[in-house]
């Protein structure tokens, strides 16, 4: 068995065991209703985490995604409530703006060779700042379309509801899973994460791909912002603060190597679900406090970083930084 699947298998196993334990304690958690809410409540995180997966597989990082969620939420709310535009007109517009924002960050990262974490940090400041300048309060969105979409769901057997936004998240996972694993662009992402110098020598258009990766991440951040606005029926500049860390944690727990080159979109789904499970369990328990979520996720993150360190250092042999000269 290939060692690189171990973190993913570990995650899957942990999820199944953890879910089984939760159900054994609170049988109520074994229902389609809980599952449906799972998807709905974590949709915005999941969509953002898909973008983070691409970025991290390519060996980068995107700290701006939470801020992009906040900014798109605010812009969407303003365009709908103040300018009276229809959401279906607004959505493509903000998505395009978000993608452009990401593309600009990608261009700086690639062409000026500035470390991604600092570029996306500046992006985060910029997006949060813009959102806060536009408004400091939450802007409620009261539009018939919003009411329709938020109440749209499929009925699942057992009374659960698969909401439109939950479904969107699943669709995003499916579509971007295909892009990651079945397109040339996807293979370029892995190639850059494996070794950007080799990739360039082998004909991978590294510049174009890097720009596209960050554009994609911000695009999904924008989509996540729209979902968040549907979920809360509002646009708020401080929405989703810290979500970038949750999504990075989800990606790493899902078996993607934080230093790039290895990873799975599907793993990220499990990473998100595992976080959702911790939260749901805490809600069910009632006595545990919410901060245990952060501690549990921090602990999982640590375990997986350690596991990756073991697996990948073992696999690639002792870390000889460079060849011993002749």
């Amino acid at each position: 068995m290939n060692a690189r699947y171990r973190p993913l298998m570990a995650t899957t196993l942990i999820f199944i065991v953890a879910y089984a334990l939760c159900v054994s304690q609170y049988p109520g958690m074994w229902s389609t209703r809980v599952l449906g809410n799972f998807l709905t409540d974590n949709a915005f995180l999941g969509v953002a985490a898909v973008g983070a997966t691409f970025v991290i597989i390519s060996g980068g990082i995107d700290l701006s995604v939470g801020a992009v969620i906040g900014l798109t939420g605010v812009v969407t709310a303003i365009l709908i409530t103040r300018l009276g535009l229809h959401p279906l007109v607004v959505f493509p517009l903000v998505l395009a703006l978000a993608a452009l924002f990401g593309a600009a960050m990608g261009a700086v990262i690639h062409f000026l060779r500035v470390p991604p974490f600092i570029v996306t940090l500046a992006g985060m400041f910029l997006a949060r700042g813009l959102a806060s300048v536009l408004t400091q309060d939450s802007i409620p969105i009261d539009h018939p379309f919003y009411r329709t979409v938020s109440s749209l769901y499929f009925k699942l057997p057992g009374g659960g509801r698969l909401s439109a936004i939950g479904l969107t998240m699943l669709a995003v996972f499916l579509l971007f899973g295909l892009i990651a694993h079945r397109t040339r662009f996807g293979s370029y992402v892995y190639a850059i994460g494996g070794n950007p110098v080799s990739a360039a020598l082998m004909g991978v258009p590294t510049g174009r791909t890097t720009v596209a990766i960050y554009a994609l991440s911000s695009f999904l951040g924008g989509l996540s912002g729209i979902i968040y606005s549907l979920y809360t029926s509002a646009g708020y500049p401080l929405a989703a603060v810290g979500i970038e860390l949750d999504s990075i944690a989800a990606v790493v727990i899902g078996g993607t190597l934080l230093t790039g080159g290895y990873g799975f979109i599907f793993g990220t789904l499990i990473g998100v679900m595992l976080q959702g499970l911790v939260q749901t369990f805490i809600v069910f328990d009632g006595t545990l406090s919410s901060w245990w979520t952060k501690i549990a996720i921090g602990f999982l993150l640590f375990m997986f970083i350690l596991l990756q360190n073991l697996v990948f250092n073992r696999q690639n042999g002792p870390a000889h930084l460079r060849k011993g000269p002749a």
Binding site: V108, R113, G129, L130, W291, I295, G298, L301, I305
Partner: protein, 335 residues
């Protein structure tokens, strides 16, 4: 030569600060007014050094870390942890000394944890410190049990709001720490070793430097600084807010160090210049505030500053410029 390059560096930051202060003065003519009231100084300028102190203290700890090509993303979270420890200890009735010792010990432990992951497990600094960045606030909430623990111990509050010789206490602490840290690294061999490791890790190993223990010590010091900043932040608001204490300050600290002329690629560093960087950031913040712009504007300005500095520092930009220059005299047919 060193003195020369330092002075040219120095002038950059000083000019920047002067520029920012000048703009502040133009939009708010009362900016330089300083008054003496109740045995302490008041005024926008005093406000700058007072508000800038926590970031300055973080920057003092971050400087050696960045000089060795590292980064510590967890300092904001460690601030929250230290504040939470200080608040719960003082509420439990412990004397100030015990409270401070506990808070700082926990902060140092956090730094040591980061250092262990980086120096001995070989995990990238950015990845290693992410763990505590995620979990740290949870730990802080665990300590405060989710509430904002308020306290009224005047001795502890004095650290955040008191004044010494008319200067606000946080600024005094930052100043003492800066002077102490600067002389410590420059009077011992630490400074030289840090710059050597940051300049060429391989050569440092060949020279027989003890890189690992040095890196461990640096991150522990970073933790200590975060702890001090955390106690000040808590004392300032007379309570420990696990959610918001030190939020995003790690980014300000990194920015301050970079403004102070230390490259993210490691090497030469100067703790006083990093502090000056922190003061510049705070001067911009205060300037925006006093000139009537919404404080949210800060973030945008900061983003702009980061980008300008990074673009100026970018080796790549120099390469491109160099390539363009070299093309002209030796122009040749291109394929």
């Amino acid at each position: 030569m060193k003195a020369q390059s330092l002075s040219s560096f120095f002038s950059h930051q000083v000019i920047a600060l002067a520029g920012v202060l000048l703009i502040n003065w133009m939009v708010f003519p009362g900016f330089f007014d300083v008054t003496w009231k109740d045995g302490r100084l008041f005024g926008s300028l005093i406000d700058v050094i007072n508000r800038g102190a926590p970031v300055a203290i973080l920057a003092i700890g971050m400087t050696p870390i960045i000089a060795t090509r590292g980064v510590d993303l967890s300092v904001g979270a460690v601030m929250a942890v230290a504040g939470a420890v200080a608040a719960t200890f003082t509420v439990a009735g412990h004397p100030l000394v015990v409270t401070l010792a506990a808070a700082l010990a926990v902060a140092i432990a956090c730094g040591l944890w980061n250092g262990l992951l980086i120096a001995f497990l070989g995990i990238q600094p950015f990845v290693a410190t992410l763990v505590l960045m995620v979990a740290g606030r949870g730990l802080a909430q665990l300590i405060t049990e989710g509430s904002i623990v308020t306290f009224s111990d005047p001795a502890l509050i004095f650290i955040g709001t008191g004044s010494l010789l008319g200067l606000p206490m946080p600024a005094v602490i930052a100043l003492l720490l800066m002077v102490g840290a600067h002389f410590f690294v420059r009077r011992t061999a630490m400074g030289l070793f840090i710059e050597a490791i940051g300049t060429n890790r391989s050569a440092a190993t060949y020279t027989g430097l003890r890189s690992r223990s040095l890196i461990l010590a640096i991150y522990a010091f970073g933790g200590l600084c975060a702890g001090i900043a955390g106690v000040i932040a808590a004392a300032d608001i007379r309570g420990a807010d696990a959610n918001n204490a030190g939020l995003w300050l790690e980014l300000d600290a990194i920015l301050a160090v970079v403004i102070g002329g230390t490259s993210l690629l490691g090497g030469r560093f100067s703790i006083p210049l990093s502090v000056l960087g922190a003061v510049i950031i705070q001067a911009m913040n205060t300037g925006i505030l006093v000139s009537g712009f919404p404080p949210e504007f800060n973030l945008i300005v900061k983003a702009g500053v980061i980008m300008i500095i990074l673009i100026l520092q970018s080796a790549r930009l120099g390469e491109i410029a160099g390539a363009i220059r070299s093309l002209k005299p030796f122009g040749r047919k291109m394929p």
